[in-house]
């Protein structure tokens, strides 16, 4: 209590003014005079009395000093003084301050911005109760079934786990799917999550209004829980946070459902990148995904299962405790009719499946997996940029320190200690980096929005925030300290080593300040060159990767002349039969449009990235008529004339046509890669294949072979692929239309939208664009890396050039006398020019030599993001070197030319 009271008093004492000083002087004066009077009274002469009193009391000024130290807080006072000094000094150099703060703001801003995304996607735990207790459960190995969702189990398996797992207090599951929500006469596609009844309880998330699902109310009846929980964000953005929405009905996939509640604000579920707008009980699956039920099917793996561990359990011990149940369930599944006829070798593999239990404190995000590498590469790039920025600010500070040496020497001469000077310099550095950090934070807000806007294809990252949170603030503060240390160290070390006597002597006659800082500045410039080289080489790799990806032959002809869009009538309540009619009519309508050469559709879109692709386990008939070992191949359902539209030639056999209009799947078309793999040197025509591995589904005849083309994109390349007639699949599924036109495709977009819209205005067309734009969207991450790495490399190179220019100017100024002498002795201007440029090139050489091994190492780090180019690509290295050398020479030419114009007579006279 007393200490706090004293501290407050002293804090107030910081602002003591002249008044307080006068008080003290008066008090001390009174003391002195009373002493003198006493002395006089004891019989001293006035002289003696005064002398005695002064002696006895100690120095007046020293006392005042001691008193002032007690009055305020000396440390704070010193800091304030330094800050005032700093501001005064910086005000005198606005250009320097602007340059330093701007580069630091940029450096810190881009780092804070990339960190904002990286942190949310990769580092943060879920904002739910006790996230460390969460685990994800799935099985790895031969599941003999339909695997449409990654890391998924069958729903009956989920129920088994839920019933018998002592290690887990909750076992809950989810399935992500798009749905159509209609309300107030407006329909839109939303991201939805089908969840088990205990989902909210298990995550410890409550409602913001109404109620959330509970196992007792929302997990009992098959297809019998027409209820919805809206996310808080969707409630605010779509329903204007209207409390009356709770309890009212909305149409989900044209099915009336009651909004029972709003989930808590800030709750996003399990995927930080994509938070669903609505949640529906998983028992509603048959109505939410018409034509695909699988709630009771042990062969359909589509629910992602999570658990919350009881205290004392680890993922490993949880797994051990679940293993017997899992093995027992697998054995039971094998005896079911679906698997009874499976041959022995598959039974063994089936039983060898492994139950995986992994920590899920950060949830599960497919987006995370695909963005992680790119984000880390980007973080590395901007980290390098920050280091370059620090070096260039250090160089600026050194230049200023050289100019300030006289001032510093004078301050030392009149009694400032080295410690005080260092403190002053640290305050200056911290002030600069602090200002840079504050500005950078503002900048990062805008930058993050730009990044998200550019990067988030079809809302893949819509769950991420651009606003910096306290973690980003802490990160930025750490950067501020780190940068201040990094760029403040060099000038500070110069100051500490300052030789007072010679500096004062030298400063008196030389105009260029001390020479001590030149080697250090050269080292900094060499380091900048090295870093610029790293960034240039990296940029080269990413730019060429992008070029390679874009130029890779997709197997489709003229993708700039193909229009694509998606429709999903099932989300408007269409049955499979009505849906098929809709597709047929849409094809007819489009084909009859002027300017359309041909049109077709496919179930899975092409060049759409490696998200959800349909693959299947198949077995293929060999020469002897036996079905060989199963393999997983890509599968797609397509319409007649699809291949013609895409420009994929049918090289053997036939395309799908009227013969494949309905009924069960009878014919298949395979690509060349498939033919090469399963029928090397033979024709696959007339051979058969069966789906579901050895499950002996009906035999399907191969009726055609088509040329190879990409499915997911250039990175994945050509893979073995089987095409089926979509009409024979009987699926209720969205399809992607493809329309070929010899005209400018943009001119057709509106017409196509209108014509298809006429068929049923309630069915939205989405993702309408050319296939070329689709490819660019799929390559978004690569485009981003190429663009940003180039931008940052250019930035670093410019900073290095500026640094080099500064140093060479200084070098030339210093060597004026020497140059004059050389010229007097007959050196030609060309030789002088070369002398300066040679010095610059030697710096370049050192930087290059230092950068090369790192460039190789970094290249290896990013190799997973490269395509068609080796991490240590010679061409890229040479190109980066030449670019950098040109810039270096360019930066050195101006000071070099100045050296040539030195007048020998003048120079020698001065020296």
């Amino acid at each position: 209590m007393t200490a706090i009271r004293a501290f407050i008093a002293r804090w107030r004492g910081l602002f003591a003014g002249e008044h307080d000083d006068r008080d003290l002087a008066e008090e001390l004066q009174a003391h002195l005079e009373m002493q003198i009077e006493d002395n006089l009274r004891s019989g001293m002469t006035p002289e003696e009395a005064r002398r005695e009193a002064l002696l006895k009391s100690g120095g007046v000024e020293l006392s005042k000093e001691l008193y002032r130290d007690r009055r305020g807080l000396p440390a704070v006072e010193a800091l304030l003084r330094d800050l005032r000094n700093t501001l005064r000094l910086l005000r005198r150099n606005p250009a320097f301050v602007a340059a330093a703060v701007a580069s630091l703001a940029l450096g810190i801003g881009v780092n804070a911005s990339v960190f904002t995304l990286l942190d949310q996607l990769l580092l943060q735990r879920l904002p739910v109760a006790e996230p460390h207790e969460l685990v994800m459960i799935w099985s790895a190995g031969e599941s003999l079934g339909d695997d449409r969702v990654s890391n998924a189990l069958s729903y009956p398996m989920y129920q088994d786990l839920q019933r018998h797992s002592p290690a887990l207090s909750h076992v809950f599951c989810r399935f992500e799917t798009p749905l159509t929500v209609a309300y107030g006469g407006r329909a839109e596609r939303v991201q939805a999550e089908l969840v088990s009844g205990n989902y909210f309880q298990a995550l410890g998330a409550g409602p913001a209004a109404g109620r959330v699902f509970s196992p007792a109310q929302d997990d009992r009846t098959y297809a019998g829980h027409p209820v919805v929980v809206l996310s808080h964000q969707y409630w605010v953005s779509r329903f204007g946070a209207d409390p009356a929405v709770v309890g009212s009905k909305i149409l989900v996939n044209s099915y009336p459902m009651v909004v029972v509640g709003i989930s808590a604000p800030g709750f996003f579920g399990l995927d930080p990148a994509r938070s669903p707008q609505i949640r529906v009980p998983i028992q509603m699956k048959p109505l939410m995904t018409p034509g695909w039920d699988d709630l009771g099917n042990r062969r359909g793996h589509w629910v992602q299962v999570f658990g919350r561990m009881n205290p004392g359990y680890t993922p490993r011990s949880t797994q051990a405790s679940l293993e017997p149940l899992f093995a027992q369930t697998l054995r039971a599944e094998l005896s079911e009719p679906a698997l009874r006829r499976v041959p022995q070798q598959y039974r063994t593999r089936f039983l060898a499946q492994k139950l995986m239990v992994e920590p899920a404190s950060k949830g599960f995000s497919e987006t995370r997996q695909s963005y992680a590498t790119a984000l880390m590469v980007l973080m590395g790039i901007v980290g390098l940029v920050l280091v370059v920025t620090c070096f260039s600010v250090a160089n600026l500070l050194l230049a200023r320190a050289a100019a300030r040496q006289k001032e510093i020497a004078v301050r030392m001469a009149i009694g400032a200690s080295r410690r005080q000077l260092l403190r002053q310099l640290s305050v200056e550095s911290l002030f600069l980096s602090g200002a840079g950090g504050a500005l950078g934070l503002l900048l990062s807000f805008a930058l993050t929005r730009m990044l998200l806007g550019f990067w988030s294809v079809e809302g893949t990252l819509h769950g991420l925030r651009a606003e910096p949170d306290w973690r980003v603030l802490a990160f930025t503060a750490a950067l501020v300290l780190l940068t201040a240390l990094l760029f403040g160290l060099a000038p500070a070390s110069q100051t500490v080593r300052l030789d007072l006597w010679s500096t004062l002597k030298e400063a008196a006659r030389s105009t260029t300040g001390s020479r001590g800082s030149v080697p250090l500045r050269k080292a900094l410039v060499a380091a900048q060159v090295a870093l610029s080289f790293l960034l240039l080489a990296g940029a080269g790799l990413f730019v060429r990767t992008l070029a390679n990806l874009r130029q890779a032959d997709p197997g489709f002809r003229d993708i700039g002349n193909l229009i694509t869009f998606q429709v999903n009538p099932a989300l408007s309540g269409y049955s499979p039969k009505r849906q098929q009619e809709f597709y047929n009519r849409a094809l007819d309508a489009i084909r009859s449009l002027p300017g359309v050469r041909s049109a077709g559709y496919a179930m899975d879109p092409v060049l759409h990235g490696s998200g959800a692709v349909w693959d299947n386990t198949i077995s293929v008939e060999d020469n002897a008529g036996n079905y060989r070992e199963n393999a997983v191949v890509l599968t797609n359902g397509v319409s007649p004339a699809y291949f013609e539209t895409m420009g994929v030639r049918v090289s053997e056999g036939r395309d799908f046509d009227g013969r494949d209009a309905a009924g069960r799947v009878q014919s298949a078309i395979v690509n060349r890669a498939f033919a090469r793999r399963f029928f090397p040197g033979r024709s696959p025509l007339g051979k058969h294949l069966r789906f579901g591995g050895p499950l002996a589904g009906p035999a399907i005849e191969i009726v055609g072979v088509v040329q190879d083309s990409f499915r997911e994109g250039p990175r994945e390349g050509v893979r073995s692929e089987v095409f089926l007639a979509f009409a024979q699949l009987g699926f209720s599924n969205s399809v992607s239309f493809y329309v070929r036109t010899p005209l400018r495709p943009e001119s057709l977009l509106g017409v196509v939208r209108r014509e298809v819209g006429k068929l049923d205005p309630a069915i939205p067309l989405y993702e309408m664009k050319t296939l070329r734009s689709q490819l660019d969207a799929t390559l978004g991450t690569d485009r981003l890396l190429a663009a940003l790495s180039t931008l940052f490399a250019a930035l670093a190179t410019v900073l290095a050039a500026v640094g080099l220019y500064g140093v060479m100017t200084l070098v030339v100024a210093r060597r004026t006398g020497e140059v004059g002498l050389r010229m007097a002795l007959g050196a030609r201007p060309g030789q002088v020019l070369w002398m300066v440029i040679r010095e610059a090139l030697s710096l370049f050489g050192i930087g290059l030599a230092a950068g090369l091994p790192f460039a190789y190492l970094l290249g290896r780090c990013v190799s997973s993001r490269l395509f068609g180019i080796a991490p240590a690509d010679l061409g890229t290295t040479v190109l980066a070197s030449i670019t950098l050398a040109t810039v270096v020479v360019g930066a050195a030419v101006i000071p070099a030319r100045r050296a040539c114009t030195i007048d020998p007579v003048q120079a020698l006279r001065q020296a």
């Binding site: 007393t2 004492g13 003290l24 008090e27 120095g59 020293l62 006392s63 008193y67």
Partner: protein, 114 residues
Amino acid sequence: MEEKTDVWQGTLALMVLKTLETMGPLHGYGIARRIEQTSGDLLTVRYGTLYPALLKLEQEGYIRAEWGVSDNNRRAKYYALTASGRKKLASEALQWDRTTGIIARFLGPSEAAS
């Protein structure tokens, strides 16, 4: 003169409080004189030590200062004990008694001799 010791920082505060309790409100010079006299002129109080100590006690709220007029009509700052200062003095005096008692027992005639 040589044998006089500067007053120790820690004990000065206690002496000041005690002085103010005995004498009532007093100016800095008076406090210094009183301490010196009480010590039998064995201690010297310099104002480099005295005034910061007074300020510290004031900041801690144990004493209160206000300007007044001295006996011979001189303007001087008078210090007076506050209630919390009185309490502080009591506890400090007790503490000091205890400490000196312990030290005295250590330095006193050894138990073997007694």
